[in-house]
Amino acid sequence: MSHQITPPKFFQRLFQWFCDPDLHEELAGDIEEQFFREVQQKGLSKARAHYRREILLLIRPSVIKRLSLPNFIPDTVMLKNYLKIALRSLSRQVGYTLTNVTGLVLGLTACLLILLYIWDESRYDQGFEKGANIYRLNTRMQLPDQQLDLALAAGPTAQALQEAFPEVESVVRLAFPWSDPLVKQGERQFYEKNLLYADSTFFDLFEFPLIAGNLQQALTAPFSLVITSDFAQKYFGETPALGKQLAINDDLYTIRGVIGPRAQRTHLQADCFISFSTWLRERPHTETNWTWTSFPTYLLLKPQTNVAAFNQKIATFPREKMGEEAWAETATHLNLEAFTSIYFNAHQLGELDQKGSKTYLLFLGVTAGFILIMALLNFVNLSTARASIRAKEIGVRKTVGAERQQLIQQFLMESGLLVFTAAILALLLTSIILPSFNGLIDRQLNLHQLPTFAAIGGGIITCLLISLLAGLYPAFFLSSYSQAGLLKPSTPRKGASFWSYLSGFQFATSTSLIICTIVAWQQVQFLLHQDPGFPADRKIVLNFGKDNSMLAQLPQIREELLKLSAVEEVSSSSHIPSESPFGVFLSVEEENGDSRDAEIAMYAVDQHFLELYELELLAGQNYTKLVCTDSTAELIVNAATVELLGFASPEEIIGKEFYQWDTRGRVVGVIENFNFQSLHQEIGPLSFQLRPNLFEKLTVQFSGAASIPNTLAQLQQKWNEVAGHLPFQYSFLDDRLEQQYEKDQRFASLSLLFSIIAIFIALLGMMALVGYSCRRKAKDIAVKKVFGASVAQIIWSLFHRFSQPVLWGWLVVIFPVYYLLNQWLNDFTYHIDVSWLVLLGAGLIGMLLSFIAVFSQSFSTATANPTHYLKDN
C-alpha cells in the first residue's frame, strides 16, 4: 500500500467528530476497509468519492454521538468540589480576581449604558399605537434660487386631501404660537414654551394617557385647553384642574382635558394643547390661504394604503387648488414622511423637535462593541496567564485521573463564576451611576425600559457566551498538555507575543477614542469661542412676550432703563440671535418691474439693534423713520440676502422696492453677515423690519464695570416699577448661545467617559500581561542582573517589547480615525481641522500609559535582590 493512498482526511476527522465514540471504531474501520478494497477495484478517486458519500450518509440520529451538553454539567459531588476550588483559587489571588472582575464590570457597565441609550433613541416616536399609519405632510417649494423643504403644510391642505382621497382616514393640523405666551392663574404666571394649537382630531391620531375629561370633544370649541398633569400641578397645585380657567395672553381658556405625560419620547411633546378653532378665530384665512405654509400636518392613512403610490397622487395636489399661475411661483409639491422615521431623517424647516443623529449612535455602538471586546480579551488573557501558573495543580489532577472534560468543566465553572459576579456588579453599578449619566446626556434612561424578558434572556446568554469564550481557551489550552509536561518546573507558555498583540489592539482602540475625545472637545470649544459676528458678552435678555401695554410704553421703558448706571444700551426686538426667526417671503422689485423672490428669515428690531449688537452696515443706513406705515416700511437685509437674490453688490439693492409680510417699502441698508443661528448652519439670508407690534424682548447691554448681581437687582427693581404686572424673566445672551451646542458638548463628554473606561481596561490588561511576564521571567531577570544589567536596562527591554504592539496599533488606527473624524467634522459648517499633533499626541499618551504599565509591574522584580529569585522555589 503506497503512502499516499489515504481516505479523505477531512471526512475522516468529520466522522470522528460527529460519530458516537462507541460506534466509531467499528464503522470507521468498515468504511476504511471498503475504501482500500475499492481503491484496487475502481481507482483512488472513485474510492475517495464513495468514502465521502458513505460518511455523509452516516449523518443520522443512530450514529451521531449523544449531544455532549449533559456531559458539561458535572454531577453534584464534583460541582461542589469545583465551586470550592474555584473560590479558593480566586481568593488566593485577590489581586488577579479584582483586576479581572473590575475590567469586566467596567466593560459591561459601559456597554449597558450605551445599550440603554441606543434603545432609548431607537424608541423615539415609536410609542403611538397608530404611529405606523401616520404620516407627516411635508412641502417642497422650488423657488428660482432656492429649494425649501418644509415640515409644514398650508392650512387648507389637510382638509382638502381628506375630502379628495378615501385613503385618508383622519388629519390633524398643529400651529405654534408666535411667541412664548404668558400663562396666568391668580398669582402664578410664567412664560410657557411648549404650547401647541391642535385640531380636535389630535387625540384620534395620537393617544395620550387620559387623567380627566373627555379627549374626543376637548379641543372642539374655541378657547379650550388640554394640559398635562405636570402643567396642571404647576398652576393649580393639588386641586383638580378640569373645568378651571387659565389666562393666556389675557384671554381666558377653559381646561377640558388633563393628560398624563407620555411614557416614551416624541417630538409631539407639548405641555398644553390649545384648540385650533381658537387660532382660526383670529386668523380665519388659515382655512383658505394655500401659500401660508406654516402648519405641522399629520395624516392617518387607512392600513392597506400603498404609500408610495399615494405620495405620487398627492405630489402636485395644490396645483389645481391654487391655480396654475399662483402655483408656478412656488412649484409646491407635497410628500408624506412616515411618522416613525421622522427622528432620524434629514432636517426640514419648521421641525418641532431636534433630530436624532445616527452618526452618534453608530459611534457609541462601535465604542460599546470595542470596549466589550477589550474587557473580554483581558479576561481571557488573565485567565490563561493564571491558569498556566496553576499548571502543577492541573498536572496533579490529571495524574490522579481527572479527565479532560472534568478539567474543562472546572475552568468553565471558574470563568462562569467570575462573569456572573461581574454581570451582577455591573448591573448594580449601572443603576448607581444611571442618574448622573442621565444628567450628563439629559435623558431619562432606566433599566426597566428594556423589555424584561428579552433583556434578562439576552443578559444571561451574553454572560454564558462570555464565560464560554473566556473559559474555553485556558481550559482547552491547559487540559491538552500531557501531565509530564505540566509537572515539569517550567513549561514555556506559547503565544505570549500573540497576547501582547491583542494588548496592542486594546491600545489602538483606546488611542482612537483618545483622538476622538480630543477632537470632539476641540470642536466644541471652537464652536463656543467662535466669533458669531457680534459680541455676546454683557447682554441680558428680558422677555415680556405679547403684551400690548408694554408695547405702548417701550420708548419710556427704554429711557427709564438707560437711567440706570449699569445700563449702556437697550434695544427691543422680536427675536435675539440664537432663536429661530420668522421665515417669510421677500420679494424685491427691480425698476423694470421684475421681482426677485426668496424665503428668508425675519427679525422685527428697533433702530438701536444695530448699534447694540455692533452690526456694521456695508451699504445704506439704519432706519430713517421711527414710525412706519404699511406702505413706507424700511428693510435692512444681510449680505447673504443680497447674494441669494443675485445682486452684484450691496449698493445695488439699496433703494429697491420690497414686499414682505403685508408691508411694502424700500430697502435702506445692508449689514454684514453674523451668525444669528447656531454654527451648525451656514449664515442664511436675514432681514430686519421695524415692526414694534411684534416686539417681545429687550436686550440690555450693561457696562463691564458693573457687577452682575448689582445690575440684575437694579433691573428687577426698575422692572417692577414699569412692568409690575409681568414676571421678571431674564437670561444672559452668552448662556443662550452656549446652549445651542449642548448636544455637541454631551457628545464630547460621552466620548471622554468611554475613552477613560477604555484606557483603564487597556491599562489593566497590559499591567496584567507585564506582571505575568515578570513572574515567569523572574529568573531570567535575576541572571541578567547578576551579569551586570542595570535596573533601567531591564525595565527598558521590557518596555521595548511591550510598546511595540502599541506602536503598531497606533499606526494602524490613525488613518481610519483621521478619515472618520473628518467625516464627522464636515457636518459642521464651521469646524476645525484634525491636527496631526493630536494624532501624534494620542500615540504618545499610549506609549506613556504602556510605560506606566511596564514600570509599575516590573519595578519590584527589577530591583529585587537576584538571589531572591535564583533560589529554587
Binding site: A28, G29, D30, L58, S62
Partner: protein
C-alpha cells in the same frame, strides 16, 4: 426486549450472519447481502438494524483483531445468540406451516 417480531430485513441479516459463520462483520455482511440478494444497502441502515438486533438480544458482538487495512481499527464480529437462533427457527417454522397450507393450484407453479 422489544418483542419478538422479526422484520424481513432483520431475518435476512440473521441468516447472512449465520452463513458467514465466524467472518460476519460490517463489510462482509454488506457484501454477502449484495451478492446473494442484489440489494445494495446503506451502511447506516445496516448498522441501525444490527444495533436493534443486538438490543433485542438476537445477536451479540465482539471486537476481533486489528488489521492495517482498517487503519489499525478492530473488526466487530457478530454472532447469533441462542435466542436469535430460536426466533429464526420459529419464523421458519411458521412460514413453512403457512406454505404447506397454501393449495398448490393457487400458485400456478409446476
Amino acid at each position: 426486549m422489544k418483542g419478538t417480531y422479526l422484520g424481513e430485513f432483520e431475518e435476512l441479516l440473521l441468516l447472512v450472519i449465520l452463513i458467514l459463520a465466524d467472518e460476519a462483520y460490517g463489510v462482509s455482511i454488506k457484501e454477502e447481502i449484495l451478492q446473494r440478494t442484489q440489494r445494495s444497502i446503506s451502511r447506516g441502515a445496516l448498522h441501525t438494524s444490527l444495533t436493534r438486533l443486538e438490543k433485542k438480544g438476537y445477536v451479540q458482538s465482539a471486537f476481533g483483531e486489528a488489521t492495517p487495512v482498517r487503519g489499525g481499527r478492530r473488526k466487530k464480529y457478530y454472532q447469533l445468540t441462542q435466542e436469535g437462533k430460536t426466533v429464526l427457527e420459529a419464523v421458519r417454522n411458521m412460514r413453512e406451516s403457512l406454505w404447506k397450507a397454501v393449495p398448490n393450484y393457487k400458485l400456478g407453479l409446476q
